[in-house]
Subunit: 480 residues, 4 copies
């Protein structure tokens, strides 16, 4: 296992091409725009060495019996699934943002299940390849970016029907030693500070989309790979100081990229699906269900911070005992814990797969994320209500630090006199950045659109059974 420093050092040895705001980033570890994202991910390494969190952060490899970072583990029990959720909540409480590493974790576990199924149906050997790759991942403790979402173009069309065939990643050449892929992956969380990416198909496919059925592991600095870094709300404030950015050390959300794959070569031992289009949908859903499980972990950790910030603001404002403030804080806790319950339940109700690993209850995993797409907005709304108008019109950090304005701001933005004004401003800035713009929009997405989850719920619900429950009580002769 690597610790945080070793992780950072290992990233320095890679040379991905990353563009950001019109320039090239030379070192993702050291560049101020990417460093906070590196810091978040580094915590997933560092905490594995903290005795307090050993049980959550590490696991025993079922391949080798060795102690490994849980983020590289194949779930061996429902207890493992529950620990994943608790681990994520705990890290979320420390970072107040995305720590990115779950995406690869889920992609690997989804591949573990799906490659087994492909092999069973087609006699291929993807599962063995994957097992070898995973042992390599466990051994080296590298960070793998789970890489699913294609740009998609016109949403009403299949990959092969798009005006531009590259709007979904596809195989453009099959060679003796491997394949060549072309296209791009969008919204790639944690990509620039990962070592490799594991690309997966992103939608259900028909026979005409055969070339789009591709899963493979690719180094982030492989020839032909180009990353364009996404922009976040207020992201440039981190260049100015440590107040206005709100969360100076860990930034906001996951540092997403558009990652372009310009005819990238992948050797066969890193290819885990190639052409088996009829299992693409299953690949997508297995990944998505594992990923939806997470939100009642990480997002609840984030919510814990927002709730704490709102409770602190109430204190600074001098009104922590007002009954309507207490009611709102309780409502926030209630909403957060309800999300958490869904993740715990989809884990505790998980089951063993044919491949031997453990998988979540998919119906319940969908409830997690559907709640999240509403709950995080509601929690943000309540936080704004508690924090007061203050949060929308705070002055600049530069003015707060300037000789001429500091005194005025310090004097007039005081709250309860027992607390320094700077604390009140810092807390408001944290809240501002955690409850607006990108942070909110991101709550909506990730792991598929809400509508995708509704479709899945519709498919997975046993409607006939529910109708029969009703027909029996209504005394309708059903014949069954």
């Amino acid at each position: 296992m690597m610790n945080g420093q070793q992780y950072k050092d290992s990233l320095r040895k890679l040379h991905p091409i990353v563009y950001c705001n019109g320039r090239k980033i030379e070192s993702v570890v050291d560049d101020p725009m990417t460093a906070p994202h590196v810091n978040s991910a580094a915590l997933t390494y560092e905490l594995a060495f903290d005795p307090e969190y050993e049980d959550l952060m590490t696991a025993t490899s079922h391949f080798t019996g060795k102690k490994i970072n849980r983020f590289t583990h194949v779930h061996q029990s429902t207890e493992d699934l529950v620990k994943k959720v608790k681990m994520m909540r705990m890290i979320g409480q420390k970072t107040g943002t995305c720590f990115q590493r779950c995406v690869g974790f889920d992609a690997l576990n989804a591949s573990y299940i799906t490659t087994y199924k492909i092999d069973k149906k087609y006699g291929t050997d993807y599962h063995e390849r994957l097992k070898k790759y995973m042992q390599y991942v466990q051994e080296t403790d590298i960070m793998v970016a789970g890489s699913m979402t294609d740009p998609k173009g016109d949403r009403s069309k299949k990959p092969s029907q798009q005006a531009d065939p590259d709007l979904f990643v596809h195989v453009v050449e099959r060679r003796e030693d491997g394949i060549v892929v072309r296209g791009a992956k969008a919204h790639q969380t944690g990509m620039v500070n990962s070592h490799e990416m594991l690309i997966l198909p992103t939608t259900n496919l028909g026979p005409e989309d055969k070339d789009y059925a591709v899963a493979a592991a690719i180094p982030v600095d492989a020839p032909g790979v180009i990353h364009i870094f996404g922009r976040q709300t207020n992201e440039n404030r981190r260049l100015e100081g440590d107040i206005d950015c709100g969360n100076a050390e860990y930034a906001i959300v996951g540092g997403e990229t558009l990652t372009v794959l310009n005819d990238v070569f992948v050797p066969w031992d890193r290819v885990f699906m190639c052409g088996e289009y009829d299992l693409a949908q299953e690949f997508v859903e297995t990944f998505a269900s594992y990923h939806r499980q997470n939100y009642g972990g990480c997002k609840v950790g984030v919510a814990d911070v927002i709730i704490g910030a709102a409770a602190s603001m109430a204190e600074y404002n001098g009104c922590p005992k007002a009954s309507h403030i207490k009611d709102k804080l309780v409502e926030m806790v209630h909403l957060a814990e309800s999300m958490h319950c869904c993740s715990i339940a989809c884990s505790a109700m998980g089951h063993k797969t044919e491949a031997g690993s453990y998988y979540v209850d998919t119906l319940l995993a969908n409830t997690v994320k559907l709640n999240c797409t509403k709950t995080m907005y509601e929690i943000s709304r309540l936080a704004h209500d508690i924090a007061g108008g203050f949060i929308a019109t705070l002055p600049y950090e530069a003015d707060y630090r300037s000789e001429v304005c500091h005194g005025y701001i310090d004097k007039y933005f005081a709250g309860d006199a027992r607390f320094p004004t700077e604390d009140r401003i810092r807390m408001a800035r944290l809240l501002e950045n955690m409850t607006g713009g990108t942070a909110l929009a991101e709550s909506m997405h990730g792991a598929g659109s809400p509508q995708a989850m509704r479709v899945m719920i519709q498919r997975e619900t046993n409607w006939e059974q529910k109708k029969n429950f009703a027909k029996r009580l209504a005394k309708i002769k059903t014949g069954d």
Copy 2:
């Protein structure tokens, strides 16, 4: 263990005094007003003999090692807690209503924990008494009504401050062989078809309320006990036939009573608290938390029936494929499963108590019920939206059965011609009775008011921890 028939036979041997609608009920098993409630409870006996449900419905006594009905079990693991939830959902799907027996189940388990604590603090022997009583309950498989809620009078006053001292049950005499209690218990679910009741205190008490700190087991037909049966929405329709009542066999909700205790004698071996006022609050909350756990079981079973009825109505109306109908049905499933997740999670996250039994996570148990107080209304609203205006203006069963009107009703209330009109009417009546009046109001209450839960969430949340999560990220020097 008794089966359903044995349970009914055993009730016939008791002679409780029960008033209902101005008359006395001679046999709760045979009287049409109480029989449907007996039927629901009987299912908790009958299903214990069904091999399909053996794992959920039965357990192994930790006292005797014998197989017992789960409703008499002391939880020995988080698995037991999860099975309780699943058992309740399953029975709810079959009855579409309350089957009552969980109240005593929870009262016994709460007593198991609390008597242990009282003894530890005061050197009393309540826990041993309770263990003997529980072995008797397990052996005889009797149904015990959990009996907590006092009438309460003026909600702003403590028991000893009330204008009438009897508005909370209290000890009026301490004798060598036992105690004499006076007062009443309100909203007593399943009381008339139980064998005994287990009374518990209902609120936190001060030294001046000492006499109100009483827990004891009392036969439902003990001298001095009088039951006045509560009224439900449309309850008299069951006297007319089997259509308009909606759920002919199992009625709606739990058949509650006002149970008056007119100086009732209780021997000491059935007394489990007497004067230890400072543990009253703990008694209440232990019971309430176990009871809040249930709602993501039984209510979700009920919701499964409502969802099935709504899905059936859409089919009868000819519009099962309309996208807005599908969206609403999916939303209903989503809401129901979210409630279920909370119950599963508070069970899976349970822990072992000092007394050796297992107890739920109380913070999460509160989220169950708080969700329920909103969700069941929302599910009902969606069901009405799907079912159409039809449900509000259906004609009488008597007209449907009359020579002159039957033809008109059958002709004009037809939907999709492939289904009999009677089926459509039956389903609408089931839905009407499950989603209105008493059924809805009952979703709000039981296991304490929503406000009580909010207070408990406020108390159980670690606010300092949450504030510290935020302070660290906001770079506020906290000294810790």
Copy 3:
């Protein structure tokens, strides 16, 4: 104008055939099952003679210049539209339920507009016929049941595609002196205590549905007309006394019927549409928009009663000052007034039609009803939350009046000792009946399904304009 007594006397002269619960109702004024509905409607007559309400309750006929009951008026200004809403709220506050007479009011006003359009397109003389009929209505002050909703059968099929051609009312014979119609009208509010009904088409029609395009006025006791009275929640309680029914004098909801038209003859001077299928949709929507306008009047009046009942219950329970109770009451007021605002706004933003009368803003009229379908559920939920578990398990009126039980109930259902227990029970029963079952389901329907309103909002919104607002700001070259 008739007063309340004259209205009742006039009804006694009619002889409609009405079936209810397996028997024939001889006098709707005197039968206990229909009398409360007559009482509600009678108030629309009686209050017209109350000087306090003269401005709201009466208007000046634009035909004759005479003072008339507003319920027979053709709206002459937006002020008239606003007064309609205020009048309805005021009567709703007095009845706590539907007073039925708005349906005919809206049907007449919708006919006034639509007949003008038919004549303009087809050179017919329906508008003149209608004007004569309306002068007759104003002169005699009769109550006209607006009669739109057909049974509809399979919702996915047009009238002419139904398995049974009678599932929508249609013309079966065209004679020299008039037409013969067959079919039924469902959910007919106020029908049995009206003098005549004004039937309208219920859906958009194609050329093949020509015979279904029919509007006509028919006496409620015309040969061939049969009424089957619908059942309401707990409606039989009114036979027992005046407590358990909750609202003894005015019942709950509108006393709906299934009204069968068995080859009923209508003379030409009472026919206002016959075959002009392409204007059916317009007829429906004009009626529906007028009718949706009402809900922010009558339903808000009803909500005022529910809020008052909840506030009273809080007082009886001893907790009127608890901050969470006050918050809930305020939320109820907020929700009710928001509905009211929508009705006022759709009235104030109304406009003059080609026919010279005033019509509501239809987009805003839809918001009224869509809010209502959610708000009344939310208000009911909050009322249950405030009232407490009490409401779900109250004993029977017969027991409360019995010698043996009265004392117990009076003693144990006492709240704050300053108020009689009977008052507390009466208020809880009022609340029970206003917030459950039929009362709630009826909030969902009437004036078309929520989905119908969404469709109308979609059609009436100027999407291109909204997109252009955005395109201009986003600096997108639009060419316009």
Copy 4:
């Protein structure tokens, strides 16, 4: 009346001291950080000369009979109140953001009513002074910043109890020629591009707070006045280009300041309250009610833009006809129109004041803003749901404009091929900036906290009347 250019020219003649991001702003018209706010306000001048909007944008002075800009008008009828709402919606549709000028408009109208009352009670001559001042405002068409909100410090304390006496503006000296005031005003919308400010008290006051009861007009560049400009979400993006800022011409929200008043002198003819503490609360509420009226105008205009952007995004994404997309868009319209209805209704139900001007219905004005504090969040949530993950991870404008990345971004962020990728990015950026961070938080505040509105609803509701509605129906003898 000034037009837009004249307005800008007039601002150039003023010399307010404005600090922003560590530097001094020399010209608010020309500085890129303030110019977009000037542009928004300039539209309130420019549109007054557009014949299409003459009826909404101008009015006839009741002082002089001259045509004036409506923003300087004293409302003379409910029609004036309705036109104010419609004018604001219209301008909001054009700017997509706050145009600031309503604050002074409301402050002037509130002063018109309140000075009349002060004079009546105390025999002062504030009303005459104000009338003269208003004629000056109408004549010169200057922009007056309504200046109410004090910093407030510890929210649990009155002004005179604060640790620092300056946390509310107060009179520090009374001279023969005028008064001297000290303190600050926070969240001052439109302040830097106004000509003068009209300060008002911000809370209810007791006798000990007498010096805090002060209302007065002060030039923005009076000696002793210092402005510190507030920071907005992503506000620096406007320095980079015109894509990433979303709304290049008009920015986001109102350009708020902390305005410090360092012993500022005000001559008596500009003082409109000085010491009459018992009317402070009335001043606050009159202003607040006028201001709450606005939100169903301006915010609905803003919502129209958001809805248009979401509808456009759906089109660009290739899914404008998906039924779940249509449902969400309809829901957005429904929510926006409901807010609008509340503003229209509180205007149409306005009444004449003793001073002769027209005032809104205050209960209904509160419903406007309370809806807004929820609705804008819900509309934003739905917009994010429709727009897709895209919005959270878009690349930088600099990369889009760079040679190396432009092609990739243009290729891979294409949607429906009929639309340019740049349009899709522009629309997403507009949506991002209108639905996050400051924009959302600002929906919560302005015109007082939501809790302040709830308190006002509680006070203004006639609870006894509502209880009596219920008591009569429940047959409770009330004695009245």
